[in-house]
């Protein structure tokens, strides 16, 4: 088994009065895909948004407890979220390319982090990112066209390329295929399989089939609590918990 990359200890999240996560203790392994499943509103997305501190954007959101990446506490007021997010990229549920050219979508991240000082360096980063996101062949002749003009699946791969462009260690994916058709979904899944060689990936998904296909480890959330976590095979074949069993067999959720 790979080494532990991300470790959460007694993580609690509150939206105002409402508690969204209860004492979540979850370890995520390096260069592996961890899938988080569970019914809507169970806290999966809230959990991954703690890993790159995206919850900071929400005024009423309070996070307590610990999250460590490589043993370093990130839930710390003094931590620079900019450099954290450089290490932890994110792909959202709905593709959200910037309304700029394909090239600018990819080069934006490297530019603000001072990677790729010259044009040729930037060109290289853009090409590599698009290649890793399996989009290069489709867009290489129209890099100056708007990213918003691509199809939904291409837009999502563009967003993945954008996340890769700053060379992160971790990529968080919040239901990346929920807005896509089956063919585009298959492409993204293939891509995830390829990407896990380089990156630690956490994916939130509603599709149990997808969790089985792409992940090595699965965590099941329910009502803000982490009910069960373990190897994907085990979770789907022989879960310890009755609730997990009910969920994966479709009895609720």
């Amino acid at each position: 088994m790979n080494e532990i990359k991300i470790k959460s200890k007694n993580l609690n999240v509150y939206y105002g009065e409402k508690q969204a996560l209860f004492d979540v203790n979850l370890d995520l392994n390096e260069k592996e895909v961890t899938a988080l499943i569970g019914p809507s509103g169970c806290g999966k997305s809230t959990f991954i948004r703690c890993i790159n501190r995206m919850n900071d954007v929400i005024d009423i959101c309070k996070v307590s407890g610990n999250i460590e990446i490589d043993g370093v506490e990130i839930n710390d007021k003094n931590l620079d979220v900019v450099s954290l997010r450089e290490r932890v990229g994110m792909v959202f549920q709905k593709p959200n390319p910037f309304p700029k050219s394909i090239y600018d979508n990819i080069s934006y991240g490297p530019k603000i982090h001072g990677k790729g000082e010259t044009k040729s360096e930037l060109d290289e980063i853009v090409e590599n990112s698009l290649k890793k996101a399996a989009l290069w062949e489709e867009v290489k002749d129209r890099l100056d066209e708007p990213g918003t003009g691509l199809s939904g699946g291409q837009q999502q791969r563009l967003c993945i390329a954008r996340a890769i462009s700053v060379n992160p260690e971790v990529i968080l994916m919040d239901e990346p295929c929920s807005a896509l058709d089956p063919i585009a979904t298959a492409k993204i899944e293939e891509l995830i399989d390829e990407l896990k060689k380089t990156y630690t990936i956490v994916i939130v998904t509603h599709s149990m089939a997808q969790a089985v296909r792409v992940s090595q480890k699965t965590g099941f959330f329910h009502l803000g609590k982490l009910i069960e976590v373990g190897k994907t095979e085990k979770i789907f074949k022989n879960p310890d918990n009755k609730m997990t069993q009910d969920y994966i067999t479709g009895r609720f959720g």
């Binding site: 450099s83 910037f98 309304p99 603000i112 954008r162 700053v166």
Partner: protein
């Protein structure tokens, strides 16, 4: 009620609504048409002026200057005598009273017009040339058909003798209609034939530029801060409510404020575009902040999240992504705010722009008028000539407003980027 009846009722309700909607649009258009027709029919004649063709003889004895005189010499020279000489030759007058009546057919600036012709060509001594001298306001209105000549003589401003001269001039084709350059070039005047909106145009221009320079940066920075950076708490709620209230404050209140603070306390010069610009900026500020914030709010949060997720700082996500997307809405909101400011009259009256200013302002701290105030001033005047001038000024004002509104629409459509 059967299913058919219910369905029929629903359809007729929709038809009724469509009819009411169309009728409302028709009524609104009708009012616009009436307004435009009224202004155009009254105002369009102001763009032409009536002139009388006069033969002027530059008599050396009367002028006391020579050919090739310098500009200063010409400006100092007295052209009064040759003016009177020339004007009197237009029609034979029997006595002094008739002579005065004849001279009254011309503008009081006839002497200046003749002097101007000599300034253009200082070799005219001893020569006769034909000049088109602007007619007086009364002749102008008579010629444009705005003057009832069938009134009894004692109730007319034009005497029977003057009518005889006029008819004679028309018969000899001495009366000409020219483009009214005075209307655009001159400042205000007591004489309608000489009055123009030149001063008001420049005054309005300076006021709006000052208003833009003050209001735009403040409004944009305030909106960006309030919308993107300010914590959402009671204080920001309070500020938001008050910005909305300020936008609804009657403009005359801003005039009072300016009167007290800018004129009485800081002692800025009265009646100037500088004060007008500051006053209008105060008034326009909340009116720009509101559309500005609305267009910032309209940028989808996914764009902000996308930028933050690749490691942009808050500042970078706002200025690299949100602001450029909000820019078209911001610009068009600003232009519409400025258009409102351009048409604003009440606060300017309070800060003294209603003064009678003849000179064209050369700097923003010279006394000046502005277009809407000029409309107000002329609409109060008794002379017939000011009626068409009032409408023509409204036409100018409206055309500026229309141009600005089109510009706003154009900018919004041209630079608006679509997402998703």
């Amino acid at each position: 009620m059967t299913k058919e009846e219910r369905l029929k009722k629903r359809h007729s309700a929709e038809k009724r609504f469509r009819f009411y909607g169309l009728a409302s649009i028709f009524v609104a258009l009708l009012f616009v048409l009436i307004l435009v027709h009224n202004i155009f029919s009254k105002g369009s004649s102001a763009f032409m002026k009536t002139a009388i063709n006069v033969e002027v003889f530059f008599d050396q004895e009367l002028l006391e200057i020579k050919n090739g005189a310098t500009e200063n010499q010409i400006l100092e020279a007295d052209f009064y005598d040759i003016t009177i000489e020339s004007l009197l030759k237009v029609f034979p007058a029997q006595d002094l009273d008739q002579e005065n009546q004849l001279i009254d057919l011309f503008t009081t600036d006839a002497e200046i017009e003749i002097k101007r012709a000599f300034l253009e060509n200082n070799n005219l001594i001893g020569k006769k040339i034909n000049l088109e001298i602007t007619a007086s306001d009364d002749i102008d209105q008579l010629h444009k058909g705005n003057y009832p000549r069938d009134l009894p003589e004692d109730r007319r401003r034009i005497s029977d003798f003057q009518l005889i001269i006029y008819d004679n001039l028309v018969e000899n084709k001495k009366i000409i209609k020219n483009f009214n350059n005075y209307f655009f070039k001159n400042g205000d005047s007591r004489d309608p034939e000489l009055a123009g909106i030149g001063g008001a145009l420049i005054g309005s221009f300076y006021s709006i530029i000052i208003c833009l320079l003050l209001a735009f940066p403040v409004a944009v920075l305030a909106s960006i801060y309030l919308e993107e950076f300010a914590p959402k708490n009671k204080i920001t709620d309070f500020i938001e409510i008050n910005i909305n209230n300020l936008a609804a404050v009657p403009s005359i209140v801003y005039g009072l404020l300016a009167l007290q603070i800018l004129l009485a306390t800081i002692q800025l010069p009265r009646s100037t575009p500088l004060v007008a610009g500051i006053t209008l900026a105060l008034m326009t500020l909340p009116r720009i902040i509101i559309p500005c914030r609305a267009s910032l709010k309209a940028v989808p949060p996914s764009i902000r999240e996308g930028a933050l997720a690749v490691g942009a700082s808050k500042f970078q996500s706002v200025f690299h992504h949100v602001v450029p997307l909000a820019l078209p809405g911001t610009l068009s909101g600003t232009i519409i705010g400025l258009a409102q400011a351009l048409g604003e009259t009440a606060p300017l009256i309070l800060i003294g722009m209603v003064a009678f200013v003849v000179d064209i302002p050369s700097t923003p701290i010279d006394p000046s008028s502005s277009l809407p105030v000029q409309v107000y001033l002329w609409s109060e005047s008794a002379e017939r000539g000011f009626v068409e001038k009032t409408s023509a000024t409204i036409m100018m004002l409206l055309s500026f407003l229309i141009v600005m509104n089109f510009l706003a629409v154009y900018l919004r459509q041209k630079f608006e980027k679509r997402w998703n």
